[in-house]
Amino acid sequence: MSRSTSTLEIRTSPHILSGHSVDTIMFNVVLALLPTTIFAIYAFGLAAVLTLATAVGSCLLTERLTGTSPQGSTLGDWSVTITGLLYGLTLPPGLPLWMVAVGGVFGVFVGKTLFGGLGLNTFNPALIGRAFLQAAFPGAMTSWVAGFAPGRFVSLPSSTLTPPLSQPIYDGITGATPLAAWKFERVATGSGELALGFVSGSLGETSSLLILLGGLYLIARNMMSWKIPLTILTTVVAFSGALHLIDSERYATPWLMLFSGGLMLGALFMATDMVGSPMTAKGTLIYSVVIGSLVVVIRTWGGMPEGVMYAILLGNALSPQIDRWVRPKLYGAPLRGRG
């Protein structure tokens, strides 16, 4: 009481907080993506560096210019950094940088700003950006520069620096992704190669183990729902496993399904996006089963070899409705049907 001028602060309870904060959660998601990012750079070299930098840069710039908040810049919450990084990791290595930038601007502006910014974006902005590119440049989005090329740290694939508004020319070897190899040629890739990531594919989808590592870190820090990835992956394995048992000639093994394409990255880092996933426990379960099933349905019977992106976007769209369906009973309210 010696401080005679001391003032008392009046605040309403609670006077303590759990310590969780949007910015720390988002920052840790960025940290969790670093192993995957580093592996992408190791696998694809300079092209990965430039692609990821362009993706993150275009997203940050768009958010800075169009994102509105009464409290000033919204970059500090780290959410758009995640968007940029995730978006970049879903792109094929060697995609022309101008296309990368276009998708980034589209994803953040249309996928986030127009919906009202953080918290109001129905869809995952990274996937909106990717979906736009998939529709606009289907050729470039399915051309896969092979990884681990000898000169990858000093030279770029010819396609990367394609001038804006012109189509890329691929000179090197473009490989088929494991899913495409299965779908179009019925060639099964070994599960060891799949898990470790020594295959063709988008920048960040190749090493399932490193993605899992990042996810486990977030789950351990209670910053990510373990229910969503676990349910999605279980659904995929169960559904595709059942198909494989019925006809192993026509349907891929569940291991190929599990460790290939964007499933790991999508299940752990995109389907778990808090904004686009349901809030109720039951809703989360339904949402995850829907996404897992759609992945198998699209991959198996759809026109494209990969379906994770559309499965998650559809899941995002359904989330609010799922939450309304499974709204938990209020404490002390009569059971449904009794009044």
């Binding site: 001391s6 009046i10 309870s13 907080l17 904060s21 996933s277 938990p328």
Partner: protein, 445 residues
């Protein structure tokens, strides 16, 4: 439901307990302040009517105000001394309320005056209820609801289980813990009175697993003829809330808008029960209560038996506070109200005084982000509300819709949603404001 073998309720949060600094400290008598201020409103209900005049001498324990009708209780002199004036005093709610300013005699032996005893064996249920009202007993857990009102069981309602609430789930607070350890006989006596009034067949004392010594102590001393058991619950906030405790112990849900009586239960706090057992046999009234004084800014933390009416300023000077004391609140950190001035007196409902330094206070000054629909608040709310949606409606001023569509009035402001919100949205604060406007609108129509 059960968790790891211990009973509990669904949802809720686990704030740091912060109880170790005081849980091992025995209750100590607190000195008299130079002037005690006894507000005539210390309870929920009508203000008491003063029975003393300015300049009048009073004896410690003497009744100084009588109940104004049923929704009111008596007040007793916390010290022998002289009534200096009867005037307005600031209160924790921010309003000025009438109070009796009492100056204790420095040289007095401070003997407590006995009143008309209410013997357990011979008193009827009605006589016990009246004695509880006359002893000025209110819920000492913090709500300060007149206990006798709870005990007046209306025609057609019955109680099968009396629940004695020794949960004390608020961080920092250890008063109930100490009372269970040090006033076991008072507690058992109080349970006997309550069983007689309610006609309940049994009593259950609910204690959280972080107070194993209290549970053990009570179990060891349970008289054979007392139909009471001690149940240890897993540690979770807000288990001390009446509804949560009933659900944890009995598996019954109190209906929305209803009372524990609707599920044949009645809940009384352990400190309140112990006071009933201590005061009624001698016809005395409440003139002091046990309060935990704790928090990082407090130098001599402890559990003190403090005279009602002790000014907060005197209390903090006696225990010593850090130079950078920043926030002082009455009750625990989850639901306690911050004091806007140190000139407010301790009342019957004050279970704790917690003082924060700049450092702890600053940890709640956080940037408010938009709701990111993480759903943490849905998993925390013990009432199964949708605080996220309520918060969005509150932001748009849709208070009516909050009540009609989202069950706003079922919220009892435990603070779990605000505690977990990573966007630091002041959810509970918004709900309090909304509840006020809804109540106003209702009473106006």
């Amino acid at each position: 439901m059960k968790l790891l073998g211990l009973k509990t309720f669904r949802h809720g949060v686990h704030p740091p307990e912060s109880k170790s600094a005081t849980s091992g400290l025995a209750i100590r008598q607190f000195p008299f302040a130079p002037v005690l201020v006894i507000p005539l409103v210390q309870h929920m209900g009508r203000p008491s009517i003063a029975e003393v005049q300015e300049g009048q001498e009073v004896t410690r324990g003497q009744r100084i105000a009588r109940a104004d009708g049923f929704m009111s209780v008596s007040m007793h002199a916390p010290a022998s001394g002289i009534v200096r004036r009867i005037a307005l005093t600031p209160s924790i709610s921010g309003r000025m309320v009438p109070g009796v300013f009492l100056e204790p005699y420095p040289g007095s032996t401070q003997e407590i005056a006995d009143g008309t005893p209410c013997p357990l064996e011979t008193a009827t249920a009605e006589q016990i209820v009246a004695a509880i009202q006359d002893a000025g007993i209110v819920g000492l857990g913090g709500a300060a609801f007149p206990t006798h009102v709870k005990l007046a069981i209306p025609e057609g309602k019955s109680v099968d289980t009396l629940i004695i609430n020794g949960v004390e789930c608020e961080p920092y607070l250890t008063t109930d813990h100490r009372v269970m350890l040090e006033q076991r006989d008072d507690l058992f006596m109080g349970i006997r009175y309550l069983l007689k009034v309610t006609g309940a067949a049994r009593a259950i004392v609910g204690i959280e697993a972080n107070k194993p010594d209290a549970a053990e102590h009570l179990r060891a001393g349970l008289p054979d003829d007392l139909p009471a058991t001690v149940e240890v619950l897993s540690v979770k906030y807000p288990q001390g809330a009446e509804k949560m405790l009933i659900t944890a112990l009995l598996g019954r849900e109190v209906p929305s808008g209803g009372l524990p009586l609707d599920v044949h239960a009645l809940c009384v706090n352990v400190a309140t029960t112990a006071e009933i057992g201590r005061l009624l046999p001698r016809g005395r009234g409440i003139q002091e209560r046990v309060i935990t004084v704790s928090g990082p800014a407090v130098e001599r933390k402890g559990n003190y038996r403090i005279p009602i009416g002790t000014p907060l300023r005197f209390l903090l000077e006696e225990v010593g506070v850090a130079d950078d004391v920043n926030r002082v609140f009455l009750g625990g950190p989850m639901m306690g109200a911050a004091a806007s001035t140190l000139d407010i007196p301790i009342t019957k409902g004050t279970s704790g005084v917690v003082a924060f330094t700049d450092r702890e206070a600053a940890s709640t000054h956080r940037h408010v982000y938009p709701c990111i629909r993480c759903g943490y608040c849905l998993d925390a709310c013990p009432i199964f509300l949708d605080p996220s949606q309520l918060g969005i409606l509150a932001l748009n001023g849709e208070h009516g819709r909050m009540a009609e569509e989202q069950h706003l009035m079922d919220c009892f402001e435990c603070g779990c949603c605000s505690f977990v919100c990573p966007s630091h949205i002041p959810l509970v604060q918004q709900f309090r404001i909304a509840k006020r406007t809804v109540r106003k609108a209702k009473s106006a129509s």
